[in-house]
């Protein structure tokens, strides 16, 4: 059996291994992220939520997913 190639990414500060050629949209679906309630950064740059499909993840990518919480 052919071994599936994986890459290492960092998401909200934690390391995670994902399949090679995964796009950002797939990743967020797997994580069940409610897209309407979040904003996403890839390597410190904001990603347009309409273009998540185009964003293929690379090794060592850093992703931040943020939302609103209670605050003063």
């Amino acid at each position: 059996m052919k071994k599936i190639k994986k890459i290492k990414i960092k998401i909200n500060g934690s390391f995670k291994f994902v399949k090679y050629n995964t796009n950002l949209s797939d990743l967020l679906k797997t994580l069940k992220i409610p897209l309407k309630k979040v904003a996403i950064e890839l390597n410190q740059e904001i990603v347009d939520k309409k273009k998540l499909n185009n964003q293929i993840l690379r090794n060592n990518d850093k992703i931040e997913i943020v939302h609103f919480i209670g605050g003063g």
Binding site: I11, N12, G13, S14, L31, K32, I33, P34, K36, K37, V38, A39, I40, E41, Q44, I46, K49, E64, I65, V66, H67, F68, I69, G70, G71, G72
Partner: protein, 262 residues
């Protein structure tokens, strides 16, 4: 019945009219449901919120938006916890991305103990954010000169502190607040440091357009009652301000006429 002078009294920030002059924070509550109930009782039309990482391991964790509907109450994204311009800009750009929020609260802190605002970074951030089309409500110290600079940099509201964040000390420098009131036509909102309802009344009587309260409600022994108290205090203070108080006199002036005394 609503008082006559309050009927036509509008609270407008960046072209939008808000019903309540009380803005409340949503931090420090015991639970989301407690927070939501206190917000409701306060009558606030605007709540401040923070931008933080989504918990990707515990997806069952309640979301603020499930408790406070951003369609019904205006979310005011805040940069609390940012200590320089770069962090603050990053936070607010992300906030805008969540759902088009342009009305934001800028708060750049300079010291982890006293939580005073770092005004140089705050001013720089105000300039950048205004250029990028944000409507920036700016947390600041109670310095009239700095308030003027923020206004010139494009702030849509000036938000001086009453006292350090969460201190509950009430307005420490009424004179400065009065001077800022005199010099600006922008919405002037006291942000941070209030401890009890009467502090809000004083702010409103000084001519402020609104107050922002979090800790004083969230950490009161009875947050729901305190939320209601602040609501009434803000209305009372505004009404008092608009009603034209009497002159202060050194000597007494009897309320009953001397004529006809037996």
């Amino acid at each position: 019945m609503e008082a006559v002078s309050l009927k036509k009294d509008k609270f407008i920030i960046a072209g939008r009219n808000f019903k309540s002059r009380l803005i409340v924070g949503t931090g420090k509550y015991k639970s989301m449901s407690q927070c939501a109930k206190a917000v409701k009782l306060s009558g606030a039309s605007i709540v401040t919120v923070a931008v933080r990482r989504v918990n990707i391991t515990d997806k069952k964790k309640a979301l603020l938006m499930d408790y406070i509907d951003p369609k019904k109450i205006t979310y005011l994204p805040n940069t609390a916890g940012c200590f320089n311009s770069k962090e603050a800009l990053r936070t607010l750009r992300l906030a805008r991305e969540i759902g088009g929020w342009k009305l934001v609260k800028l708060e750049v802190l300079g010291d982890k103990e006293n939580l005073f605002p770092e005004m140089i970074e705050t001013l720089k951030s105000t300039e950048v954010l205004s250029r990028e089309g944000f409507k920036v409500m700016v947390y600041c110290n109670d310095d009239p000169l700095m308030a003027k600079r923020l206004e010139n940099a494009g702030a849509c509201a000036i938000m001086p502190l009453a006292a350090p964040i969460g201190s509950g000390l009430g307005i420490q420098n009424q004179t400065n607040i009065k001077i800022i009131r005199k010099q600006t036509k922008l919405p002037l909102i006291i942000d941070a440091g209030l401890g009890q309802a009467s502090d809000a009344t004083i702010a409103m009587e000084l001519g402020c357009d609104g107050v922002l309260v979090n800790t004083a409600i969230a950490k009161a022994t009875k947050p729901f009652d305190m939320a209601l108290a602040f609501k009434n205090a803000v209305i009372a203070g505004r009404q008092s301000y608009l009603s034209g108080r009497i002159q202060k006199n050194l000597m007494g002036s009897a309320s009953s006429p001397p004529k006809g005394i037996i």
